[in-house]
Symmetry: C2
Subunit: 194 residues, 2 copies
């Protein structure tokens, strides 16, 4: 086994969800069938590391000082939606029913992984949320244990700061049959009925 | 979404088994938590593309003209084991019970994918197998439909060339209980009993 092949396999293992076998398969595939793809990936990695940084206002990935969403004059500046990742932000955007601004935590509280309040930039969020412009903070962290804990901490921190803190509604997903919905969701949908 | 982030996601999708969501997750992870890993991967890709080539004798990946296995004077030169990939070669090596040389097809016959006799370097294998030194060709392609077809073509091509062509034994795997072994395997184990 060649040493630069080993190095490539080792480097591919740093990708999330890639183990020894997958890394080997990826390395073989690139070298045997797609050397152009390997070079393209190398260039894309170098390019992204050199240019991608965080938006100074919402913390999402951008190549500019402030991202295009934050600069968009058509967005409602009184609403701020807090999400965990850029992927979550994209999901909210695709729903087409939100036109305010965002704050991307780039993570969530996860004491087991050593991710505390400081790591998710809560201080920056507080500063952003209390700049006088924001009236409603919509917490759209995931409905997992960690996402709920993060939502709780955010709500506590903003108590009495003159900002309304709301949370995405919990309930039965559109298109689903009650028979197959889990009990916790049904309990929430009952108590939050309207 | 930044354009060099999109380019990175697009490039990551060229890895086998990586779809849109995984590529996005990989890109976010590298940019948020492991920029060093991203640079290491970029360097490893460049390095491997520049230096890794095929061994002139056995076709496996190597950085030299001829790989270290082919050059090893301790190997039995009268036996040649034909495998589909370097990973298969590594598996045979790990078994510790083969001390001959190898020929790595770097693929298998797969008419549905447009991979024919020419693509798996059958001509090079024939030349290698009939160089006067090789007395036994052990066909260790996979026991899949494609691997079996490849084995068949190799056996046909070497008929009457003065080389004994053998195939890995089919049978019940070590450590398995008959009750859970598939019927085809049991049928083979019965007919090949010793």
């Amino acid at each position: 086994m060649a040493s630069s092949l080993d190095q490539l396999t080792e480097a591919l293992r740093r990708l999330p969800g890639v183990g020894v076998k997958s890394a080997q398969r990826m390395a073989y595939h690139l070298l045997q069938h797609d050397r152009g793809g390997a070079q393209q990936l190398a260039r894309a990695l170098e390019g992204a590391v050199a240019t991608v940084r965080h938006c100074a206002r919402c913390h999402t990935f951008t190549e500019a000082e402030v991202c295009s969403t934050c600069l968009d004059p058509a967005r409602e500046r009184r609403q701020l939606c807090v999400v965990e990742t850029p992927a979550d932000q994209a999901a909210v955007e695709r729903s087409g029913s939100y036109h305010g601004l965002y704050f991307v935590l780039m993570g969530r509280l996860s004491p087991l992984d050593g991710i505390g309040v400081r790591d998710i930039g809560l201080a920056a969020l507080l500063e952003r949320a209390t700049d006088g412009e924001v009236q409603e903070l919509i917490v759209a962290t995931n409905f997992t244990a960690e996402g709920e804990a993060t939502a709780h901490v955010i709500a506590q921190a903003l108590k009495g700061r003159g900002v309304t803190v709301t949370r995405l509604a919990r309930g039965v997903p559109v298109g689903s049959e009650l028979e197959y919905v889990d009990l916790g969701t049904i309990a929430h949908a009952l108590s939050d009925r309207r």
